[in-house]
């Protein structure tokens, strides 16, 4: 089974994000870049399927040149190869452009399954997986909490607002996974060494068969959101429950 896993490098989510008020782009100075932790679940899902059913995992990413570090981490975890599409024309790309580029990069190689995370930690538009599926003309089984494969049919338990659904899908398809789906492995020392010699293709837009549309949306203003003020913070000396009861009475809940 040939598996393409989409991975993205993002500013370290432990540093609070900020948009530059003039350029309206994400501030990246002084912020470390990391493999989106959400994507580690996709990599793990791909590796587990390839180990059980044969085949290889290839990671596909669009982003600035330094995204090779994120790809290397995926290679160290066990992916067989990687593709990075880096092009100045893609700075600030919207969800549709991102999907077009990723779909074109995925199409360059064989694939039975495309795995993504449900949403990226920095952008969280959460529509790139579905848009990729549409462009590739295949189903998107999204929000997976568990995945199994019997050699021909993928059985996915997906989470929805009201409960869960079990979906059966043939291949090829796009699968988007949640953080509850598995426990991603850590790269081993051997994996890190091996990653250095694994193939990593760098592509620009010229290498891809992709039509980018016009710019369809523009950020016109960024401002801080109104924040709520905190109230009293008291140590629980045994009267914490009493204090809460008082508030519940004031709020006329009891």
């Amino acid at each position: 089974m040939d598996i393409a896993v989409c991975v993205k490098q993002i500013p370290d989510p432990n540093t609070p994000g900020e948009l530059d008020p003039t350029t309206h782009r994400l501030r990246r100075e002084g912020v470390d870049a990391v493999l989106d932790p959400g994507d580690e679940f996709g990599i793990e899902a791909g590796l587990a399927l390839a180990e059980a059913h044969g085949g290889e995992v290839r990671v596909v990413s669009m982003g600035p040149e330094r995204s090779v570090e994120a790809i290397r981490k995926a290679l160290a975890m066990g992916a067989a190869g990687g593709v990075l599409v880096a092009d100045p024309a893609l700075v600030g790309a919207d969800a549709l452009t991102t999907a077009r580029v990723l779909a074109a990069a995925i199409r360059r190689g064989p694939f039975d399954l495309v795995i993504t995370s449900t949403e990226s930690t920095d952008g969280y538009t959460g529509v790139v997986p579905q848009a990729i599926a549409e462009l590739l003309g295949i189903p998107a089984v999204t929000f997976a909490r568990s995945v199994s494969f019997d050699g021909s049919t993928l059985t996915v338990r997906r989470q929805t607002e009201n409960g869960t659904e079990t979906v059966e899908a043939g291949l090829p398809c796009v699968l988007s996974v949640t953080a509850g789906v598995n426990a991603p492995r850590y790269p081993s020392l051997r994996g890190i060494m091996a990653a250095r010699s694994k193939p990593l293709d760098r592509l620009s837009l010229n290498d891809l068969d992709v039509q980018l549309g016009e710019v369809d949306q523009e950020i016109v203003r960024v401002e801080p959101a109104p924040q709520r003020k905190g109230g009293e913070v008291v140590a629980d000396d045994g009267t914490g429950a009493q204090r809460i009861l008082e508030l519940l009475r004031q709020a006329k809940v009891i």
């Binding site: 959460g126 295949i138 059966e168 203003r221």
Partner: protein
Amino acid sequence: MLTAVWVYAELDQGGLAPSALELLTKARSLGAGSVAAVCLGPGSAEAAGDLGRHGAGTVYASGDPAFAELLPGGPAADTVAALVAEHHPDLILFPGSCGGRDVAGRVSAKLGVPVIANALDIEAAEAVTVTSSVFGATQLVRTEFRGRRPWLALFRPRSFAAEPAGGAAPQVVEVPASIDPRHRAARIVERSREVAAGPGLEEAQVVVSGGRGLQDPRNFDLLRQLAELLHGAVGASRAVVDAGWVPYALQVGQTGKTVKPNVYIACGISGAMQHTVGMKGSRHIVAINRDPQAPIFKLADLGIVGDAAEVVSRLIAELGGAPGAGQPPHGAA
């Protein structure tokens, strides 16, 4: 400047999802020439009256069971695209739900039109501008649509309050569902609904939410007891949903539900911005956390520095909880 605005009215296991009426209420305030709803699946005909009362002049409906049996993305996106080709709406409002995202993402790619996610509000003047929040609603971003229409926007749940408009019954246009056989490659074989006793999480006047600081999944029983005593609902942070303690249906936050109860009680929740974005519209916020520096205290009206399970047990006892209540919590350190 907008001639037609549409709402993608999601059906949730036969009934209309609350988002449909919220989005219609917004749609009819945009000064467009007409407002219509697209409602696909069994139950759409029954939903038409409600959609009309909330401002839909036309309801494009199909009762084809395939919309409920197959994954919604493919078939619904095809149908929306066919309707767009015929009627040329300017703007389509979608719910930011799992299903709404599945459909909007595909429609965007299919028609080559932009989609803005995480929207909180939309204005139509000279330009059509969407307000969305980023970084856990610490910053608000306004984005203008340009280029090809229809423009698509995905709204966070409960961004608007649904209000009926009165008015005539809508014109119901039955749309043919020509389901591309390709979409039959993925089908829903089983559904299970997470129904808890008491009010739903999004409607409840009191929400008692738990996070990793509860220490043990069994301590959620305490939250259920407390919620029952307060006629409220139980919520959760994503950390404990991911850990499998409770179902995703309980998750509050950026990728979960938005709640605006009278009182929100956060038990052992750190207050990451992805969580607070889903609850900071609550009228009163109470937080119980062992760490006096926990970010949740920055927005709590009342913060208790202490063991969450223990404080909740005592609260249950004070409220005269059922036998077994007020017992020592599990695994509390």
